[in-house]
Symmetry: D2
Subunit: 267 residues, 4 copies
């Protein structure tokens, strides 16, 4: 079989205690639903709209927290990196290194992530930039492979659509899969409303779009969750409340069964 993979967690490590609590609950859900789940949290939000915004505990403390969470919960972990120097320490702890969408064209970062994950048996997850067509992710894939790691995921998280809005072209799922990589759908960043003094979001659109992406055939789902999204220190407007995660995932798993049971048409 061919299970849907989940990458989930809060946006940023707000504290070790709160982050661990989320991970423990996600591990329970993963066990109940029998799904593969990788825990995600950022140690640094490097591109906040404002200088005053919360950024996180930083590389060293953040990775230490992620390492302890992995040990405690048994979940593999992932995080995003922003400079080439962060690749090696992050790859020591993380099963997957995530390249942020805005940085996916930065050659040194992609190469460092590919080399570090190759050394540690990890995967590179490159988010499709909002300004790149899905077929053009071929070039990012080639950079990774040439740098020594062919274990690559690509993530759809929306494309610039006029000002202040993203759109998910669901064709990106089969198009990026045709590059030979699994495709993850980022269900919570896709509903961001960029612009203004803080980035807004349409939380109510997460379930229908996530169902749509799974129906379109994506291999995995990324989502951010928080016990109290309206008090989250980053990306609250688009996060799934932790108490609703289980109910959110149910129909996705059943749609996945329909999709995997029906091979593509030949036309």
């Amino acid at each position: 079989d061919n299970p849907l993979v989940f990458i989930a967690g809060p946006c940023v490590i707000e504290s070790e205690e709160s982050t661990l609590a989320i991970a423990v609950r996600l591990a329970e859900i993963a066990a109940e639903l029998n799904i593969p789940l990788i825990f995600k949290a950022s140690f640094d939000k490097a591109n906040r709209t404002s200088l005053e915004s919360f950024r996180g505990p930083g590389l060293e403390e953040g990775l230490a927290i992620l390492s302890r969470i992995a040990a405690t919960t048994g979940l593999p972990v992932t995080t995003d990196i922003h400079t080439a120097q962060q690749a090696e320490p992050a790859a020591e702890v993380c099963a997957i290194l995530q390249i942020p969408a805005f940085l996916a064209r930065q050659t040194d970062l992609v190469v460092a992530a590919a080399q570090a994950t190759a050394r540690h048996g990890g995967v590179v997850n490159i988010k499709k930039p909002q300004f790149v067509a899905p077929e053009d992710m071929l070039h990012a894939v080639k950079k990774c492979e040439a740098a020594g790691n062919g274990r690559i995921m690509l993530t759809e998280r929306g494309t610039t659509f006029g000002y202040g809005r993203l759109v998910n072209d669901m064709r990106s799922v089969p198009i990026m899969q045709s590059l030979g990589t699994p495709v993850i759908y980022d269900a919570t960043h896709s509903v961001q409303l960029p612009g203004g003094s803080t980035t807004g979001g349409q939380r109510e659109m997460v379930p229908p779009l996530a169902r749509a992406a799974v129906a379109a055939g994506c291999d995995g789902l990324f989502f951010e969750t928080h016990p109290d999204p309206d008090r989250a220190l980053s990306d609250g407007p688009n996060m799934v409340p932790l108490s609703e995660v289980s109910q959110f995932l149910g129909p996705l798993l059943r749609i996945r069964e329909v999709v995997t049971a029906n091979p593509p048409l030949k036309s």
Copy 2:
């Protein structure tokens, strides 16, 4: 229960014989799958790229053919109209009158369709123009209601996305439903590639996008089909081969079951 509705047929009436043959096959499929299906064919393609393109048999002959097809197959029928004068004769034959996307802002056409369908117990199906946001379909809905017919469907068929390409923002499904109308997903026009000397299409994208729209919660699916799309006189590049319709519909019905079994989250 709350079944998915289908509107299907060739793009244009090429001949009575060929159009009837398609309708007979679609009626068989509808019976086999136990689905409501409305047969669609155009009597006039009024906005072809080129003067030389085939336009169809015209209003009078076209409606006569549709009327005989309805009688022979037992299927309700629908067609699109382009002038206010066509509304009354078309509403005598058709259960649904379709307003083309480019014409959905033409007040006289919308009003005439609403009045004629009100007289005959029919429905108005307004295609969301490529240049209109889903929430702004409120104004077309209001025009219809004010003209006397509240039985309205809205159809998502893609939004202008740069040059030569449409994108389906799947949020349009819940947004247009929130206006109080059922929403149909037009699976074949959505994959058109407008531009060039004839409009192209991405037939291979119809199944994943149709699955996505059903998963997003649409109430019905519109698609065009032809026994030999590559020889169709209009819209061939995006049509579903008639021989694949049954296989195409199967997973959509199963995804529908998942969607209707899961009420929306409260967040």
Copy 3:
């Protein structure tokens, strides 16, 4: 020499008196500045957002008013038509028939306009739809020519850019000119903000965008004007106040001199 052409007037004929007053003032300005100016006003706003909006005096009365305005002021006149039947009477009065952007793909309308203007020595001015790439206006040009009138203008009035906003791709000026037609820049509709219960506008953007279009090499400028835009019955938010027209046109004429004095680079 190669003067910039102007098409100007109120959006809609509100009354004969008010429309004539605008025309008289525009004729004075045209004489002062020694510019060719065609007076424009609509007899019917056929695609208003709401059923309640003012639509104008209708075909017969509207054309009679335009005819008297032409006789009184000496200005040639133009109007837009919405059905094929309106082409012949409108071409009897108008030097230019304008095809609305939403209707520019309707074959019967374009053919009727081409035939009627051919009979009366007039010109067809086709507005580039918000959903069409500039190079694809070739097909509208070909339809007109095949129907018997090669005297064609194309008008840039913005392209759909996400929801609720248009963008002027100024490349459309040289691209549409390369089809062999003069290109008019519609300075006031280009700053519309479509969406909401009435279409909004950014009046303050008219002068910089008009200067930009003239600098890009357009052959003419279309703009709507009103003595009191905030009380206009249609399109007020984007109109140029009549008292500012003269000041608005001055720099455009001087930029035109720079453009015509400098032949294109060869690269």
Copy 4:
């Protein structure tokens, strides 16, 4: 008076000899036309499509070359930086530090550039990302100011418009000026066609778009130039041939005179 500022040079330092030759010619042109001109060349192309593409001489050698070019020609110089560590050495040599569009949301980079230029009396030039609305550049401006440098320029270089294409919304010029900063129009990157194995370009569109931007009121013009663009090691398809620079600039200066002679309308 209020002269138009120019930032010009090759895309990347191909060699010291060739780069100096371009700078010498640009200094001559600047003297002939009596225009302020800052020489630009990159030491590293950090986001090439392919790993195999030429990247440049690197930080140390690149800055040394720029320093000698500044001394030889008397032109101030500018370059783009990609990491926070590069800010201080680059600010020692450059009058302006340019933040690449993809990196304009990276807080550490913007802050480092602001601090380093503040120490050396320089200016930060932030390119508006292809995924950001012009009014949202406010947040980048605030970050710079809060980090200690209020000498900021913003550069318009196009916004994502569907796949594989950028569009210049010329409203961005007055909108970004309303944030209190001068606005530079990047005439050559704006005509890039992103996508495919190498980024393409529409060199023939540079002159009309540059004229349009100057007419819209921009404060300066950025363009890349090369003696033989078709053999350039980066960005050849969109560069202005060095032999045509003088002819390219002439009409821009005359349009500038028209713009500065006409104060904005009050409406």
